[in-house]
Symmetry: C2
Subunit: 586 residues, 2 copies
């Protein structure tokens, strides 16, 4: 980020943080018993926490608060900031235990304490404000209400958090709100429910999705596609148990790094078993189950691999962040000389998979080269030469393949650098969908070997990689990208046949029988044709085949696409051709 950009960001942050003060002032005027806690700027906006006592606040109250904020804003001048003594601050905020707690803490840390007041509202604050509130804070909007523990700890009281945002112009604010509106419509949690793709159950547990028949269809189509493609490309698909002895992760060295995100271990006989947070040790055990020659390398061990990570309940989000996910995982054992070619082939596969999913390179996703830090021996395995070689190899693959990419310091795995495939979600934020890791540490720790041309034992390199990511997250991204209207080959139901009257039911069945290999349903409910079309469109079914007397007589189907396009009456051969062309070549 250059200096000018940084100034702009700082300015916007100051304005948004100031807006949090304005929100606090308005709330305390409307609810004199309320107490304001902290109110920082955040990405795209700000929030302010309150203790409302016994009062319950909802989003229905936001317009009134906004009105009061506009009213107060007219009376505000600049933020007059003054340093005060601990005693003075304590006196001023004797009514507010949250501010008192902060004052005590600042005092203990020897920090200076500042108060500010832009007009009629005294607040405790470390500063960073708009210089001209009356002008700067005009274009704000309150967005939502949520619960949040004081200082983020569940041991403390649950406060009420009001989120809002503020921009420099009405146009920017409107654009942002429109994007939020669109994102809300495309939210995979909302669409997942509307389209009946997955559910959660309190009795099963948080972060553990249950895929319905429709969600499972999408998952199965993706899984078979990727397994078949990988086998075609020389991968050996295996199935290993999703748990193992804790020792596996002690040998790998994951245990100290990942302990907090692993499930608790289980004592079975004399063994400590644990649900696996990654697949590598299992694949290494398979590799080690027999001797290997250089002739077998690169050896590509792949698995559709269930993995378990403990995510904090507050971080769980639909299918995007879960406590169990299924990764299209692989570990490619190769010589150091082969590593570049292996990574090149992996990026080709990823590009192919993403293209098939309809993700456009540069637009929907980009590559990130995630580097280590030679100075941080605690976070990264110490071997400067190996790090240099590995980072160089990955960078060269990206350059030679003319892949656009950016570099990120200090984002590597502890055992080596990686290339991350960063996908833009519906809020224009980037999520890591796939990683490709260059590993020179595990082969050492697990004593992986191969026999080289001279009959000598050598240590290979391992490339850890996914190809389509974790199915849960990839499905979430696809739902949001397509707003639920999956490409034909992925749609859980591809065709709904709609008989116009009951006497067309027989013909509908005949049409159904001709749709071999296509996921089709007949809607023979006693509803009107219009209602059936509307329901199929709501369910984002790609094609509706409407069959009445005329179609039956002419041995045709009247095709309607979910976008509302009427494609007229065509014969089945023509329709089957349309369907065939919608499937990825393979």
């Amino acid at each position: 980020m250059n200096k000018e950009m940084k100034n702009q960001v700082d300015n916007l942050n100051n304005i948004r943080h100031s807006c949090a003060h304005l929100l606090a002032a308005a709330v305390l005027e409307l609810w004199p018993g309320a107490k304001n806690a902290i109110g920082p700027s955040i990405e795209d906006g700000f929030y302010q926490d309150f203790d409302f006592g016994a009062v319950k606040i909802s989003e229905a109250d936001l317009p009134e608060i906004e009105k009061k904020m506009q009213e107060l804003l007219q009376t505000w001048g600049s933020f007059a900031t003054k340093e005060v003594s601990i005693e003075e601050a304590k006196k001023d905020f004797a009514w507010n235990q949250y501010k008192l707690e902060l004052i005590e803490e600042f005092a203990k840390e020897g920090k200076t304490i500042t108060e500010n007041n832009p007009g009629n509202f005294l607040d405790l604050c470390k500063g960073g404000h708009s210089e001209n509130p009356k002008e700067d804070l005009k274009y704000f909007k309150l967005l939502s209400v949520a619960g949040a523990y004081w200082r983020g700890s569940e041991k403390n009281k649950m406060l009420t958090r009001i989120y809002g945002t503020c921009f420099l112009s009405q146009k920017e604010l409107d654009e942002h709100l429109a994007m939020l509106e669109e994102a809300k419509k495309r939210d995979h949690r909302k669409l997942g429910k509307e389209l009946g793709l997955f559910v959660f159950s309190d009795l099963v547990g948080a972060g553990l999705p249950l895929l319905t028949a429709k969600g499972t269809t999408v998952r199965r189509v993706l899984e078979r596609f990727v397994v078949d493609e990988e086998i075609k490309r020389g991968y050996q698909h295996v199935i290993t148990p999703p748990l193992g002895k804790v020792d596996l992760y002690k040998v790998s060295g994951h245990y100290p790094y990942y302990k907090d995100t692993m499930y608790p271990s289980m004592k079975v006989d004399e063994d400590e078993l644990i649900l696996r947070p990654m697949t590598c040790p299992h694949h290494f055990m398979l590799y080690k189950s027999e001797p290997h020659s250089y002739k077998e390398l690169p050896l590509r061990i792949a698995e559709i691999s269930p993995q378990f990570r403990y995510e904090k309940s507050g971080e769980l989000a639909g299918l995007m962040r879960v406590r169990m996910f299924t990764l299209s995982d692989a570990h490619i054992v190769c010589t150091k000389n082969q590593a570049k070619q292996v990574v090149k082939e992996v990026l080709d596969l990823i590009d192919y998979v993403n293209k098939t999913l309809g993700l456009k390179k540069g637009e929907d996703y980009r590559f990130r080269l995630s580097l280590g830090d030679r100075k941080d021996d605690k976070k990264y395995y110490k071997d400067d030469k190996a790090w240099d070689e590995a980072e160089k190899a990955l960078r060269e693959v990206l350059q030679e393949g003319n892949h656009e990419f950016f570099e990120a310091e200090n984002e590597a795995a502890f055992y080596g650098p990686k290339i991350d495939i960063q996908v833009k979600n519906v809020l224009n934020k980037e999520e890591t969908m796939i990683t490709v890791q260059y590993d020179f540490v595990m082969p050492k720790r697990f004593e992986l070997e191969y026999v080289d041309e001279k009959g000598e034992k050598k240590q290979p390199i391992v490339i850890h990689r996914s190809s389509i990511g974790a199915f849960e997250r990839t499905i979430a991204l696809l739902i949001e990208k397509y707003g639920g209207a999956f490409p034909v080959w992925l749609a859980p139901v591809q065709v709904v046949i709609i008989p116009i009257t009951e006497r067309n039911n027989e013909y509908a069945k005949k049409v159904m029988d001709e749709l071999v290999g296509i996921r089709a349903e007949i809607d023979s409910r006693g509803e009107t044709m219009q209602a059936k079309i509307r329901d199929a469109q709501m369910q984002k079914v790609p094609y509706m085949l409407i069959v009445g007397d005329r179609e039956e007589k002419e041995n045709k189907v009247a095709v309607r696409a979910r976008e509302g396009v009427d494609m007229g009456a065509i014969n089945m051969l023509e329709f089957l051709k349309i369907m065939r062309e919608a499937f990825p070549a393979g």
Copy 2:
């Protein structure tokens, strides 16, 4: 079993138990420091446990022991049994702490104590012996040596167990030994290793198999076959997490019955999570996630479901008995009136699946009707009327479908009766491969509902069922049935192309390219053709395509089947036809 049969069995048991005495006598003569513990007859033979002290015995010692047994046998008369006092017995066996422990126990229980001596060997025994040892014990054979804890508890000393068998004639003994020999050859653990289908790893854990690429191919072909077939038959395949809150199994009522065979629970936040021992509660949660009308019933929820059960380490056996298995599971929610038709369709599916696998009804498998016990309220849910109805329904389905079956008392699930599909393994023993359960309890416990024709809420019935069983066990059964020579459609590698010389490698590749959809490999190692054919046969690859100059010139392939049959040179179209016909219709 009729009276005559029972007498015969008792007679054989007596003979085998007597043979255990003979074994003890021989061992104590050969190793005077050894102490004999117990020596019962078992199915197909007997065993005798010994404390050999510091001496290590192996199977290499068995011939010498057998020789001594034959020698001693010549001196034996009938088993003279006499009742003795505790003191007398203690005196006689002062040298043997195992016998002393038994004497103490018998005394405590008030049992009479008997000793016997057929000639030159005094033993403590409750009786049941051959009347004419010299004749009856002639046809014996010692089979194997294993470790076994005294009285089966790992807290006690590990003793040495010698297994043997004894028959009434040399012919019967020979037949039995031949069957054991064949079983050993077909043992799926042995073949699994030789054919590279699966491995175990100490670091992963006991009972947790790792399927190699080849094993995974078999599993994937079976899985896709059964999933596609079930979807065709109206099943809705879902994917639910293989763990959930312990509460799920408290609601279901499984917890008290299955607690000991479940994995330990894991505390995650406030929840107690546990790996699932069965899928039912998860499917019920999906069912309950939306309201259902009678029009949707029967509703068939299916899943390829990973399940976890704690089996004692001594009971683990290759893929046959594991600590994690993957069941082709389903729960069919239906009205009571639909139950019979649903079970009928399930049996049809099972027959179809088994037929496709090559399992012959009556020969390889049969149906068992497993009934409850109205008097046992502790083991079975109390509702006599429901049990009567359910057992009647299952029996009628079996009768009306002309399925041969037998009935077994006291083999039901706690929530209802079931039909078990009993498969004969390579030792002619029956294993339960699949169960179909009629459940009138879970719908009540989980408050499952549907709305009937009158708009009233009703409680459905649930049929729990598998179709192909647990993949692990089914694969084990298939390996043993086929001695590793899988039917073509299941074979991990279906075709090996063998170029005769290096100059045929290009043509081999052309042949490979024409084998679309077929799992083929080229063996281009620098070995002789004969060596390559031998290796392919060892790996039980169904077809070898040998390509030399002549085949290349004539654009043909010389086909050789794994059984050794030379099928001559044919063109690719003809060979592809042979392959197509080897796949199940579908």
